[in-house]
Symmetry: C2
Subunit: 215 residues, 2 copies
């Protein structure tokens, strides 16, 4: 018997990636992957000795796809670095509309479905998140003149990812863009407030003692 | 044969609730629920004719648990309405620590795992989210004097839920409180900016035209 063709591996991986996104990891049967990738089980197990190994391959694929499939589109949609943040969020909004609120963020789904029991998958999910936030951080750094020196751009980048994931989740449950748009509008208001604070040197983060909450 | 005892139903439901949270919906087998609830399949199917029916029962149970298991604790932890928002987020933070970053928000998990294919479950997940946000909204309304008239407290309540869910997700993947704390710190900064804007009547949300981003 000959070794399976390298393109077979790509086909298995792409099929598994799509099915995990469409159906979830646990709900996707190996038999469905075999059928939809049009491969025999020997080919699959040649490349991926287990379903968990396939998951690792899919998560590594997502790391490779971050730039071409996500971030490059945001950078093409806007030149201003802050607007790139909102162009990125708008890509996910378009995805919700295009897919009728199904599927959502593939990494977010896997984060909640498989992270607890599979340390290597969890590490790669975290790596996907870190890489995503690092690109956002690079945009924020380009716009550093629009933030006060005390604004923590690393935290803000993590916050943007938090808002994207939480907003996607609510929009999917509601089958509505209302919670997504509400969240992005509030994030925009926060960015405006940060920018305002940078311009006016107002101490927006330090409420006067008379207004300190009572507890 | 006698009708199964009503407390059997509660035991099945509580066991399913715990297992769905610990393992996920698809990864939990009916046989595990039967074993851990110590019931026979006849009893289970008497109350819940399918695993999907059990999921509906669990989601209805979470609606009942929102006040006693979550919101009452936040209200006991703080008297100031804005501080109740952050006490609520701190409850989830404590849960991450206590459970070693496993399990996360049970509703958020189900939102991403099952919402697409199960309309009734999706509706109940959304109802759980709406009820959660409605309590936060009621706290924001109590503190209405600390928001500008143009601040949209309904949107802000949805934003708080977005931040909680996104922050929990990142923390679980990272097995670290860093992204959770970063997100809550940024949300706090936003609340402070909203409060500052209300006090100073500054037009924090409307950057001058000269600083409008270039695209």
């Amino acid at each position: 018997m000959s070794t399976p063709d390298p393109t077979t591996r790509d086909r298995i991986l792409e099929t598994a990636r799509r099915l995990f996104h469409e159906q979830g990891f646990h709900a996707t049967g190996i038999s469905t992957i075999l059928r939809e990738a049009d491969v025999h089980s020997g080919s699959l197990y040649h490349f991926f000795p287990s379903k968990d190994a396939l998951l690792i391959g899919v998560l590594e694929l997502y790391i490779q796809l971050l730039r071409p499939a996500v971030m490059d589109h945001a950078e093409q949609a806007a030149t201003d670095p802050i607007e790139r943040v909102f162009a990125l969020l708008n890509l996910y909004r378009s995805g919700l509309e295009h897919l009728d609120f199904k599927m959502g963020c593939p990494i977010g789904n896997l984060a909640l479905e498989v992270a607890d029991d599979q340390p290597e998958a969890r590490r790669l999910i975290d790596q996907n998140f870190r890489n995503w936030a690092a690109v956002v951080r690079s945009w924020l750094d380009e716009a550093s003149d629009r933030f006060s020196p005390e604004a923590d751009r690393e935290q803000i980048a993590l916050f943007v990812l938090t808002v994207m994931e939480g907003a996607m989740m609510q929009a999917r449950a509601a089958r509505s863009l209302v919670p997504f748009d509400a969240s992005v509008t509030q994030l925009r208001a926060y960015f405006d407030a940060l920018s305002f604070a940078a311009r006016t040197n107002a101490h927006a983060h330090t409420p006067p003692a008379s207004h300190t909450p009572e507890i």
